[in-house]
Subunit: 393 residues, 2 copies
Amino acid sequence: DEKAKATDFANYFCSYAQLYHQKQMLADHNRMAAYHSAILGNSSVFKDKVVMDVGTGSGILAVWAAQAGARKVYAVEYTDMAKYAKRVMTANGVDNVVTVIQGAVEDIELPMEEDGLDPEGPVDIMISEWMGYFLLRESMMDSVIRARDKFLNKKTGLMFPSHCSMFVAPVRDEDDRKQNNNEYAGAMSDWHDFAETTRNMYGVDMDILEKDFDREQKEYYLLSSRWTELQPEVLLAEPKMIKQFDMATCTLEEARGITAGEPDAVFCFDINGTRNLGPVSAIAGWFTSDFRSRTDEHAAIAPKIENPSFLSTGPEQGYTHWGQQTFYLLSPLPLLKGEITRLEGSIEMTRTKENARLYNCKFKIQNSRRRLGQEDGQVLMKSPVQENVYQIP
Amino acid sequence: DEKAKATDFANYFCSYAQLYHQKQMLADHNRMAAYHSAILGNSSVFKDKVVMDVGTGSGILAVWAAQAGARKVYAVEYTDMAKYAKRVMTANGVDNVVTVIQGAVEDIELPMEEDGLDPEGPVDIMISEWMGYFLLRESMMDSVIRARDKFLNKKTGLMFPSHCSMFVAPVRDEDDRKQNNNEYAGAMSDWHDFAETTRNMYGVDMDILEKDFDREQKEYYLLSSRWTELQPEVLLAEPKMIKQFDMATCTLEEARGITAGEPDAVFCFDINGTRNLGPVSAIAGWFTSDFRSRTDEHAAIAPKIENPSFLSTGPEQGYTHWGQQTFYLLSPLPLLKGEITRLEGSIEMTRTKENARLYNCKFKIQNSRRRLGQEDGQVLMKSPVQENVYQIP
Ligand SMILES: Nc1ncnc2c1ncn2[C@@H]1O[C@H](CSCC[C@H](N)C(=O)O)[C@@H](O)[C@H]1O
Ligand SMILES: Nc1ncnc2c1ncn2[C@@H]1O[C@H](CSCC[C@H](N)C(=O)O)[C@@H](O)[C@H]1O
């Protein structure tokens, strides 16, 4: 409803109106290089095309599209950043090609007749940098899907990025895991001092709230994922792809998250305790984005991307402003020499009740141990299934 | 309108729904002691009275009112903290006296007939801890005024606190002032690297945005006040009271801020450079709250407060969670031995356009120097009037 939308917009768009925040993204070179080579590396595809940049921010992607030879670029931005983007177009000599439109992409209209656009689908290439933490946070994908369905040419239109995938892997990161646990323990020790003082000095018993405070602090310190910049050597197994989006076809329904029982949303990691230094501290999650040819039913008639580009936000890639979202286990899982430790489970990802741009992740995890060389042999020990719901803050 | 209200409520109430935040207030012993002695130190006044606690949070003030002998206490709280407060009442054996009502105090109704309340003004004593940074931030005073006008007995009703005052004083705090300036300089140096890299690596000229980035960073680092816990020895002159509220009579209009030209909203500090170590780094602002007898036209018939209580959030008082809001000068003002430095000016405080709970403070300041012992004599130097608008973040 209208009220919820007003609240959401006020909260969501606030930080994007700051140059400081836009600059952080512009200084993320893995991000920049992937989009730059996707666009400038495929200028034959952009030549004379109609392009839309969904959420243009400072306007960088729109400038590149113009530099790549687009006939017309519509750069759509909700915040006042649109005013800056306009000046960036002029300063870079592309204001004749790029039209900045301020508004929510869901609400705007294109100058169809004036600009002689194709009523069957005015936009040839839709570029957008919409990805949030662990891909889905911020739920901006919804806006891109809506824009695609309204403006993109259904048969020959291209989405940049074209495909996105989510990954998880077990990692060793005991320092951070322990720090969270210590902070949680410290908060509870504070509570006990506080309750004692409140009783002694002010005659009021607050003990009744201890369990609620405990839950609140657990959620904050232990059941929230953390932004991390993990080094490749902490990876304890091959990452598992848990969800894949074809940006040409994916639906609002798919974009909502990961529902229980999706076939991809499971993992089974066999970790060799002789080759890997443990313990397992956490499951890390991240995403990748591809800029390549269409793979759906219209693949044959849509223009081909001769020079695909790729963006990874995983530990092997070095810094990106997305980092990885790391979900710490409540207790570490040691790895033993001469043994295989298996971590198997599933992930579910749902929007929170309070805020549709935020997510909860439910992990179900079970671990078991076997002798090395007896991979399918006798299980020495199997844990019960542990189920925990984390919020992505 | 309704949309703006929804946005405001979602933002404002979020943190108060956390026990962590309530506990921070409950662990502020200057705050706690002032309210505790105001209520328990005047139990003869509370005996058999009808009390309302506006914004009860965890319920502490309502428990105290019941312990002081109130006949009935209505504890009003918007957030889910109300559910906790209910359990606190039971745990402290006052649930027969205290009724927790969840809702905005502007929207709720009292059970007038059921509880046999006086239709001319059901509430005898209204307690509330509504004060924000530099008193007015959060604008919760509006809610208290509305509750007063709707529920308090006009002639004999008491407000706790009864009077609030705002103060400013010049202070020495060069470490923090310099740090802000250094961070600002660092941000601008970063920008130059960034603009250069963006041009060289990605072929886009962002120079056109430098001035806007500069303004944004200046506002953030230099033209925002800071929370500080100042030591008494950094005070360079007697604090000046710039605004006073009689809680029994003050209006929504007064609560909006400090308008240009209010007679109290001026200051003139003469700082003796022989007795004080400079420089002047900032103007600090804070407030005090009194719990004393009414002083308005109904003073004679309202119950007297025999044991007044007092809360100060100034530097002489030690820690409070409010601290002081410190407004740093853009350049320091040295104090010279054998001279008097005069700092005179005025303050204006207005709500921001974007968010009525946030404030901008405009300071107009002029300084001048004279020989010590020639206080009214020849002025050696007089600066132009400097005008700066700070936001209270
Ligand atoms: N529904 C919507 N309509 C218009 N703009 C939106 C939007 N949702 C998000 N945005 C904008 O999308 C931008 C995403 S950040 C990416 C900015 C820029 N394209 C760059 O790559 O540097 C933000 O500036 C945000 O304000
Ligand atoms: N208009 C309104 N109606 C009801 N509650 C309000 C309100 N405005 C603010 N509040 C509540 O007022 C409280 C202020 S903080 C003070 C809490 C408590 N009285 C104590 O002294 O510890 C918050 O819990 C906030 O949620």
